[in-house]
């Protein structure tokens, strides 16, 4: 009996070759400025037309400034990349949210927000965090630029089916423990290559209990566990999020769609190639200590000691990571002081994330030792919603900066970045060397934990802070 992934895969097979390579139909293609210019150029050079205009939605997000945009983009190289998408969207007639559109934002935030992501779709984008959209019972995954061109030209991709991995999180999450902590704990358990070759379905009562925002956070980081795609079955939570979105069906089309969407789950006797089970009660707020998302511990723990690691390759990796991070083994995580806070990214920049951070910040002040605490909403609509709820005031009053939407300091392609040696509590997804700026040191945490670090100056169990 099929899994959710099996169903989504079979539904989209256009053609099957002898060696098992399949031609898979792509329903939705999201486009941003970084990975698309060479693909449009390729189409043009080959004289190929766009296959289906309405499958594509384009937006600028990686290079955009998060401060006053009326001055344009200062960096000429970034500006050229944004202008190239402006021009390509015009030439190819794509629906496009440019830098001045109030719906502009991070590609993985705006897709669901507009209903461009609907259950049962195949969703691709030249960005590895496309796995985010799997939260809607979609088959969603990141692709390279050659594949971007392939989708633009053919509306299909050539690929082989992945294996099925079930990650089941049952039980009840403790107060202050979030979707981010779940996914960091999963990555800590299976490693950054644990999901390589698999599509992950996240299931269990703790996953079903998450909002769509939470499910998107979990699926977003499936790629950090090595899996191109992560997904969650369709249910009433999915239904209520999708209903009323600009691109969601209405009337009889809704009824027809809804009848189909209700089938988007693994059958009760579905067989998975691998199953990982985690109890929700065992998950504490997580903090990464190294340069890979799998280098993660509960906030109450200490920085691991490489000398206790039996595997030589791992030991060497840990030693190198501690050296880069400027940390000593056995230091309590709560004694690590930070220079900057970043609340944002396609992992954690949705309204629920901003509410969670604001709840911690409210009535407190940014610690004096913290040079900068950035809050970057995921989209113009998230920003407007947060402002309607007064969250911007909460942040500003505490000394946090309230910015315009974009990818920002998750990968520092715009002006927001860490300076060499600076340490950051970040709600983003990657703590790789140099990710947030050359020499920068990233600790991945949930929005509530980032806010808590921002007001105390060091990592602290957010549950202690709330009760104090």
């Amino acid at each position: 009996m099929p899994t959710l992934y099996d169903k989504l895969w079979e539904e989209h097979v256009v053609d099957r070759q002898e060696d098992g390579t399949c031609l898979i139909y792509i329903d939705r293609h999201l486009v941003h400025e970084v990975t698309s210019p060479q693909a449009f150029e390729g189409l043009e050079l080959a004289g190929r037309p766009l296959w289906r205009n309405s499958a594509n939605l384009a937006v600028v997000d990686h290079n955009v400034p998060t401060t006053d945009r009326s001055k344009g983009i200062a960096d000429p190289v970034s500006r050229l990349q944004v202008e190239t998408l402006d021009a390509n969207a015009k030439t190819w007639g794509l629906k496009y949210f440019n830098i001045t559109d109030k719906r502009q934002g991070i590609v993985h935030v705006i897709g669901p927000e507009q209903g461009a992501t609907l259950p049962g779709m195949t969703v691709v984008c030249g960005d590895s965090h496309t796995s985010t959209h799997g939260a809607f019972a979609c088959l969603a995954f990141g692709i390279g630029t050659s594949e971007v061109e392939h989708v633009l030209a053919t509306q299909c991709l050539l690929m082989k089916k992945a294996k099925n991995l079930l990650v089941r999180v049952d039980g009840t999450l403790g107060a202050g423990v979030t979707a981010k902590d779940i996914v960091l704990a999963v990555i800590g358990a299976i490693g950054t290559a644990g999901g390589t070759g698999y599509a992950i379905e996240f299931a269990g009562s703790a996953i079903r209990g998450l909002s769509m925002e939470g499910r998107m956070t979990v699926c977003n980081m499936a790629i950090e566990a090595g899996a191109r795609a992560g997904m969650v079955a369709f249910d009433a939570t999915t239904e209520s999020y999708v209903r009323g979105k600009p691109l969601a069906p209405t009337g009889t089309a809704w009824e027809q769609a809804f009848a189909y969407w209700k089938t988007l789950h693994s059958d009760p006797d579905a067989v998975f190639d691998r199953v990982v089970e985690i109890r929700a009660e065992t998950i504490a707020p997580q903090v990464t200590w190294g340069t890979s998302p799998e280098m993660v511990v509960p906030v109450g723990a200490r920085v691991p000691d490489p000398s206790a690691e039996p595997d030589a390759a791992r030991r060497e990796g840990m030693t190198r990571a501690l050296d880069y991070m400027g940390l000593k083994a056995n230091t309590p995580m709560s004694e690590i002081y930070i220079d900057k806070v970043f609340i944002g990214s396609c992992t954690n920049s949705r309204i629920e994330d901003l509410r969670a951070a604001a709840a911690v910040v409210k009535g407190r002040k940014k610690a004096e030792s913290v040079k900068l605490a950035l809050v970057v909403p995921g989209s113009g609509l998230v920003k407007a919603q947060a402002e309607a709820e007064g969250l911007d005031k909460v942040f500003r009053e505490a000394g946090f900066e309230w910015r315009e939407p974009g990818c920002s300091m998750c990968l520092a392609m715009n002006a927001d970045r860490l300076e060499p040696g600076e340490r950051c509590a970040s709600t983003s997804n990657r703590n790789f060397e140099g990710r947030q700026g050359a020499g920068g040191r990233t600790h991945l945490v949930s929005p509530a934990m980032a806010a808590a670090a921002g007001v105390t100056g060091h990592f602290i169990d957010v549950r202690q802070l709330s009760s104090s």
Partner: protein, 223 residues
């Protein structure tokens, strides 16, 4: 795409597990709108002693002498020997573009991240998977034998070399039949897919008829 059949080349080792695509080509170089010219910035933060920015003349930048690709013995290497989970992280095809532009044609590692692995084949770059033990053995041979070369025979799916002590290293490897065919012949897979345009059109027409909500005009609905 350049075809790849039998490749003989000098081997350079990068002895770290989980090398991510941010390390292979840092984000500031992703601002380029071109497909070429990324080679000088391959492993930029490990290779140079100063911080790289687009447009710099890399020939004038200070080098980190200890980084393997800066060592004279590996000059001209075209086979990269790596550790497990090579190419993890982002989907940036700039990573294989940079490797290829630098001069690599073949990678050998125990495992790769999925998106990176896939991107390699689109750019005439062959990622060979060998066991951890075989990769270990190759690291030792490379270290102890300056000028160590391997021959990678894609049609025969074979890696061959000679260890310093004269013993022959010979291993077969797996590769998808379709990817092998495309790489050997330097085929553009968009062209191949478009040969099936009728099948795609038929599938699409059926799909949009059965699930009309998938065909919404974005320009109208998001006006």
């Amino acid at each position: 795409m350049n075809p790849l059949t039998v490749h003989d080349g000098l081997v350079a080792p990068v002895d770290r597990a989980n090398v991510d695509t941010d390390a292979i080509i840092p984000k500031q170089f992703l601002k380029s709108i071109k497909r070429s010219g990324f080679g000088p910035n391959l492993f930029d933060a490990w290779r140079y002693a100063n911080e790289g920015e687009p447009g710099m003349d890399c020939g004038k930048r200070p080098l980190r002498e200890d980084f393997v690709l800066n060592q004279p013995r590996y000059k001209g290497a075209s086979i990269l020997l790596a550790r497990r989970n090579f190419g993890c992280g982002s989907s940036r095809e700039h990573a294989p573009w940079a490797l290829e532009d630098f001069g690599f044609r073949v990678l050998i590692a125990p495992s790769y991240a999925d998106i990176f692995f896939n991107n390699c084949f689109k750019n005439g770059l062959l990622p060979v998977v060998l066991t951890e033990a075989d990769v270990d053995a190759l690291f030792q041979m490379t270290a102890s034998s300056p000028g160590f070369r391997l021959t990678v025979d894609l049609p025969a799916q074979m890696v061959r070399g000679r260890a310093p002590d004269g013993t022959v290293f010979e291993r077969t490897f797996e590769v998808d039949a379709f990817r092998k065919h495309c790489l050997i012949n330097g085929l553009d897979d968009i062209g191949l897919t478009l040969q099936k345009a009728d099948k795609i059109k038929a599938y699409e027409a059926r799909r949009l008829a059965e699930k009309p909500w998938l065909g919404t005009d974005l320009h109208k609905a998001l006006a």
